[in-house]
Amino acid sequence: MIALEHLTKRYRKTVAVDDLDLVVQPGVVTGFLGPNGSGKSTTMRVIMGLDRPTRGRATVNGRPYHDLRDPLREVGALLEAKAVNPGRSARNHLRALAASNKIPFARVDEVLEFVGLASVATKRVGDFSLGMGQRLGIAAALLGDPGVLLFDEPVNGLDPEGIRWIRDLFRSLAAEGRTVFVSSHLMSEMAVTADQIIVIGKGHLITQGSVGDLTAAAKGSVVVRAKDRERLEGALRAAGATVEVANDDALRVGGLAAEAVGQLAFDQGVVLFELTPERASLEEVYMALTAGAVEYGSGAS
């Protein structure tokens, strides 16, 4: 379990994380979403004891990271791909990490085999592709067989086969009862990977809940085209719906379900040409939620 209590991290004048209160539970994959620069990586760095919080604290299994003995046996993390001396072999990189936490060297070959790097174990990491570097980072995270795992943007640089492999890996790790905390700036990725989702923007918590909760909370709309548009529009407004005129004479109706719109049209004797319920995708929910929190927006959005 990972817990953040009023976590704040300020770099000189920039507030990267602002009063974040969170609990990441074991047994599920928790997606950590936010636009670039929203504070995801900073949060993970504070959890891993790399950066010191300005206020509040982060704990892993109830203790600050700094107090963990042989921490690789409790927490594993992939924070950035290929953060390895390019001249060192994959095996030596992992052996150095294993030695510091008294993990037997046999485990090094085990995780290299598991991530599919056994055949290049003695090759210089500098010659690895980004995807291979990512796999080495995953091997390092799994080295101590930890109960808590953090992955910062893990699918970057992976090919489609690698992406599927990593999704399955997250699920199986969570199914074993581990805490799996995965950051991403892509909702589409998290929608298929995560069970729980935490959305942050500009260092603030925006929302959290299960994937189902988030889509259910999203307000859908109904697109309707009618022969007598003005008559239907008046009736809809009278029924309390929000109505806007979309292109080609269609009306976009909010606040009423498709069934209610159809019934209203029937009662008014208006002929309908089209009645289409539109459900917001998780992607749209995410875009709407983070619209105010994008640090480098594209202006016209």
Partner: protein
Amino acid sequence: MSAHPSVASVTRSEWIKFRSVRSSIMGVAVTFVLTIGIGALITASIRTHWTSHPEAHIGFDPVTTSLGGTLFAQFAVGVIGALFVTSEYSSGSIRATLTATPRRVEVAIAKLVVLVASLLVVSEVAVFVTFLMGQAIYSGVVPTASLSNPTVLRAVIFGGFYLTLLGVIGMALGWLLRQSAACISVFTSLILVLPIVTFLLPSSWQNAIGRFEPSTLGQSMESVAPPAHAFSAGGALLVLGIYAVVLTVAAATVLTRRDA
């Protein structure tokens, strides 16, 4: 899991890192080549010109001259020490290192232990080889020194200490500056540029400041009789040791306080 301090296992980890990159191996090789190779060139040149330059016979020190290669090897050991730290920052592996060992002082101690142990062996072997080779080149023509003389033995052993301590200073600069290029510039300035700047000062200042410079301390440590206005060999070792300790403590303080 062990409740005992884990410095031993962290040291083992740092030893794996030190010996598994080319830069350390190259650095050690360069240290040998410079100490022994330049020592051979200097001593051979002195032997060739010995009879034609009688004025050079006054105050001639067969020990210092045979150890002349350390003047060049000092840059190699400084780079070994600095790169052992800065390569972790340039590659980003420092994050993995510090998440594996969150009590950062243990990382600093472990790296120091590995560096000092490696450099002591390398430097002492290099200075003894170059000394013995130099005396062999001198023999028959130029006066020679023998290790049976305790002062000569001290000068040779201290030559190895000098190189080792400069490696430690390089490592401390690595922690403080985090960048290879910055470290190498500062290190080179301390050794090469500082004496030139001092040389431009009035002579009374030169004598007061000059003896605190690392290169002058090295001369005192490696010679049978220290140069004028310089510290004794033991005094020079102490001063250089204080530099190394102060810089290392500063480095450890910065390491534990700064974000990684």
